[in-house]
Amino acid sequence: MNQINGIIEWLDHRTGIQTAARRFLYEDIPDSSGWHQVLGSVAMFSFLVQVFTGILLAFNYAPTPGDAYNSLRYILTELTGGRLIRGLHHWGASMMIVVVVLHMVQVFVYGAYKKPREATWMVGIVLLLLTLAYGLTGYLLPWDNRAYFGTVVSTQIAATAPVLGPYLTQLLGSQNGIGVVTFARFFGLHVLLLPPLTMLLIGVHVYLVRKHGVAPAPGDETLPKKKFYPQQVFKDTIAIFIAFIILFTMAVAIRVPLEQLADPTDTAYIPRPEWYFLFLFQFLKFFNGPLEVVGSMVLPGLAVLLLLLVPFIDRTQMVKVTRRGFAFGFVALAAIGWGSLTAAAVITTPAEAREVAVDYSAPTDWMQLSPEEMAGVAYFRRENCLSCHAVNGSGSQIGPDLTRTTIHRNAAWMIQHFKSPQGIRPGSSMPAIQLSDAQLNSLAAFLLKLNPDNATALQNAPEFAVQGALVYQANGCSDCHKVNGVGMEIGPALNGVSKRRSRSWVEEHFANPEKLSPGTSMPPFKFAKTDQENLTTYLFSLPDK
């Protein structure tokens, strides 16, 4: 113990580090300080989590349009813990925005921006803008459809800026559309420019807080001061811990999807910004034609200016927080405005954009199966084959492992065996499967495709695809259409239908083909609602080929 003290003392003599830490921790704070002032620390913590997880992601990420998607997919599917790290970074971004805004609201409501703390407030507003800039630039980096179209819209908005528009376009490298140049610019901003700038401004912000001291409540000035450590540090720590638990739970529980690789020709895609930009998106809808720039630039610009100037607009004396009715009213109004714009944006988003998109970060081998084999997956699940058979070593040991039995692997044998297990294998404890011949064919077709490499991927086939394939088979769609190379060619092949048609078109076409394609030989189909949804989603998830 004495030796450690000796080392610390030696270090302190040379660097002053211990004295500095002491001075920092034993700072005097007003008697009224407490739980309402923990948010600044939580914001700083959120930033550090973003830095940490961001660096980890960068270790396995290739920042070019060609590779970004594949490397992120690698992080999510092949690296242990990759999904958690990405989840922390994704939800951490949302959390940081929430915390920074709450921090600002607290300072605003308490009037802590007043003289002499105007500069602290203004630096804080710039930090808020930086936080939003991370969201805007980071959005492009996965290079999936959502990222691509979100960025198309934001760069086009930047292009409409009065006077500056063409220069902004040039700076963002988006004069010829979104491509390698824009990508490099966004990545550079996100990881090289914004972080050091943020650290610098956080430094200035904290320095200013220390210089002027934590804002006291009125009447507090004469009371004896408290120390920052340990009581207030304890409160900050508890708040940080709560925020961390929420973040960690979200990162574990809520899967962040990786959508389809960015496809500029995808006309069916409905782009929507991240939730924290939805209000701006909705706000923009009120302004049309030449007025658009008012909604996209002028008014948001004025709002930022107004925020920056808050300390100069309200120059009254500091009063108790309970007497700041106007400030509370203003915050309430802003919250209602933000909330209703966001709600309106969510409500007006067409159902197909809100539907769960196919998650491409899970193995997608199932997409290569023919509809018949896919329907086989449904029977495989329905008949609970796994209650007796193992697949690729995992599962029950009563029957043989279905990925390893190669002896009797032909469809005719299997179908006979399904119908009468004991007839083929005397003494087998397998029950007969009560399915039609077509259904048994389907099941056998799937089992023939099963091998140790694709077993997990095929078992992961999403339910909508399996159910959709059942509907496809039951209605004999393959008598006229081809999917994944299987089926007739009387009608068009259905791979890539998502590129050619919208969902609503396809669904209307089922009910009334003659109306949408005059002269077609396709008969009308009347599906139950869920069947129709599953079938359409399945067809839309097919590879383009």
Partner: protein
């Protein structure tokens, strides 16, 4: 000094509260650090899943290889490289005996990875970097190399030579 402390003793209530705060601060920060560090270490240190087992590559027609002298054979193979699978050129020094037994040496010197070559005049493998010398059976006979030449697993199908993963030589180092 001791007696000063005892007379100055704080009221016990305040002191326990203070030490509770301090303990909670250290405890919670320890927990957060662990919850972030553990996944980070796993993420960085656990090898990627779904890594394809190195497959057998076709290294050409064995009947074209003369018996008794090592020949450098080139082939193409797929390498899983992070999120990419790239096709790259590989080489091996193949030695066929009269009885059609085959040994395929990895092309890197076991010292520091330089590309060595067969010296026909001296009947030995020579590494140009630090003068490691290997005998025709891969044994080290000179220089700093720590172990015999590594060997590819080999399989012969008809006249085709197939190469598998690279393994350390079964022979003890010289």
């Amino acid at each position: 000094m001791d007696h000063v402390q005892t007379t100055d003793h704080q009221p016990p209530a305040g002191e326990t509260r203070r030490s509770f705060y301090v303990a909670a601060i250290y405890g919670i920060w320890g927990l957060i650090t662990a919850a972030l560090a553990a996944p980070a270490l796993i993420y960085l240190l656990v090898p990627p899943r779904l890594r394809r087992q190195s497959e057998w590559v076709d290294a050409g027609d064995l009947s074209q290889v003369p018996a008794g002298t090592p020949v450098e054979v080139t082939f193409r193979r797929n390498r899983v490289d992070g999120w990419k699978v790239s096709s790259e050129k590989g080489t091996a020094w193949v030695l066929k005996s009269a009885s059609n037994q085959v040994v395929a040496y990895g092309p890197e010197c076991t010292h520091l990875g330089c590309a060595y070559h067969w010296d026909n005049g001296k009947n030995e493998f020579v590494c140009p970097c630090h003068n490691s010398i290997f005998a025709i059976d891969g044994r080290v006979i000179g220089g700093p190399a720590p172990r015999p030449l590594d060997r590819f697993a080999t399989r012969i199908e008809g006249n085709k030579l197939l190469l598998g993963p690279l393994q350390a030589s079964p022979e003890k180092s010289a």
